[in-house]
Symmetry: D2
Subunit: 185 residues, 4 copies
């Protein structure tokens, strides 16, 4: 098939147009807009947990964090590849739900160095994607996330996410690598 | 995360809008339009081979059929799940390129019952999808294909295709099941 | 990277062996064994429905067929590309659950020509794959299915299936094209 | 379908065993072993480039780095989501081939802060996966990579990779996020 044939094939689509009255399309592809909505949702959830913690205390923040983790991450699939910004060896990676919860709101003796990242009074969160890659049943993003503290200071981190669409059509985070910017030497 | 939060997260996307000047998106998802173009391409190729055969003889039709198979099917991946309309046991399935070529243009002693389906003087071909299913890196379609012979008679077959996008971004048929309509009893 | 480097890289894997005590692997790939089990499950279900119908009547067979369809097909994803063996135009394709149920056990005025394919007293069912294609999050098969009637006569059909793994790890049929063998001319 | 039926369906596979002499299986799933080989290949390539640079100079190292990037990364797909360990804002992300090459071997005026990460005389490289996630047509890993310098000092980084299998069956890196361990406060 020559290139010209392929091109004309597209034009031919008009002549060969489908005639079924009720043609059904099930499209499970992940879209760019869905990914951006999921990223915005993560940002909003971080601020929500921080706000809840400031107003209502750690137990309330913890309850909300559990809801967020269960709705937005994919721990029910077996594990999440999660490297939070501020964890230290040998507890760098939080492949379990308990490890993620401890990172966000602290209060877990099994993770003694976790003070609760989401309890820092964050007031604002934005993301900027350097790139997005949609392939197969998942999408990955890489870029900057800017988080504003209660003192107005902005912390910028380098962040990578992978989202998989679940059976309910909702994107879930199955990979999350966050790191402080390298300051240079 | 409550439903209302998910909904509002979409609205939040405006506030959290990406600021990178050069955000890149690589999207390898198969689209409905690409599938329809590939289906139209198949229809056009069938008529092209028939026309070439009528004008220039079997060798020319065979050469074109080889081009079509190499460009539109995925035999280079190892096998294609191909059940042509008119093959008979024990050569029903044409999982090899040679088997597909023999079906379309005949002339292969290894497939003695093949007379060359594409050499029947087809003048027109249209498709009607009952349904399309896009998931992961492939798309499947099921519907009717209507082929008009030189005598103006239309043959309708039930046809299923699966398309996979190759590294060049081109859809390739990796599954093709075609059957005559059941006449009823 | 030269070929020799790629090959030696595999050997190097020993030297670079992972040292994490608790390395977790989540593998959602569809396996050949899972596909064969799903195919065997379909065969068994057909005979089960036939047996139930013979022993306990159509309502019992219908109840079982509903269980089978809900457990083994993917209608909850929006549609299934289902072309049963014996349907006739204009109700050839059964993209809805109701259409599938009517085909298997009949008794639905909306599908007046359906007598209930699964109620024919089938006693045995085997499958033979000509080919299987696993890509992305799904697998497709093409081959023969042999069904033995109560009179001992075997009916052979050409059958294509596509299976997608759901969140529970279970394969579901999202495409099913079945056709009588072409008898030749 | 009850659970017991599913289980027994597996047992039934024996009775329903495929009989085709030439059943073909095309399996494009990414395997754990392939991922580990690709990771080991990355480690080996880093040491190879360092060794080549030390023995034969930057131009030779650069030529090898180009081969490695072209063979092991997926820039030909449009972009790679690459956040190297030591890049600084606003050139943090290297979504282009040129940016990756500059990071590994320096010498590109467009990336003035790049001194050539692979030219640091690395003598050894190992990886330890905390987790691996295989879904659809790709696999992701997260873990530690330990790199030994010429002075024997080991640098450990947190590293995430995503691999996609190309049409030739080779895994390619489409995402690579590397960061220095957080030291704690």
């Amino acid at each position: 098939m020559k290139t010209s044939q392929v091109v004309s094939a597209v034009a031919l689509a008009a002549l060969c147009a489908p005639a079924f009255a009720k043609s059904v399309v099930v499209n499970q592809a992940v879209t760019e807009a869905e990914v951006q909505a999921a990223q915005a949702g993560w940002c909003k959830a971080l601020v929500d947990i921080a706000t809840t913690g400031a107003k209502s205390g750690q137990p309330a923040a913890r309850a909300l964090a559990e809801q967020v983790i269960d709705a937005a991450y994919g721990y029910q699939m077996g594990a999440v590849l999660f490297k939070p910004t501020l964890t230290v060896n040998p507890q760098t990676f939080r492949t379990t739900r308990a490890g993620a919860l401890a990172y966000f709101v602290g209060g877990d003796a099994a993770f003694p160095k976790d003070k609760g990242f989401a309890l820092n009074g964050w007031t604002h969160c934005t993301f900027e994607n350097a790139a997005m890659f949609i392939t197969g049943n998942s999408a990955t993003t890489m870029g900057k996330v800017n988080i504003t503290g209660k003192d107005g200071k902005v912390t910028t981190v380098d962040k990578t996410w992978q989202f998989v669409k679940d059976n309910a059509g909702k994107l879930r985070i199955v990979l999350h690598h966050s790191s402080l910017e390298f300051a240079g030497t």
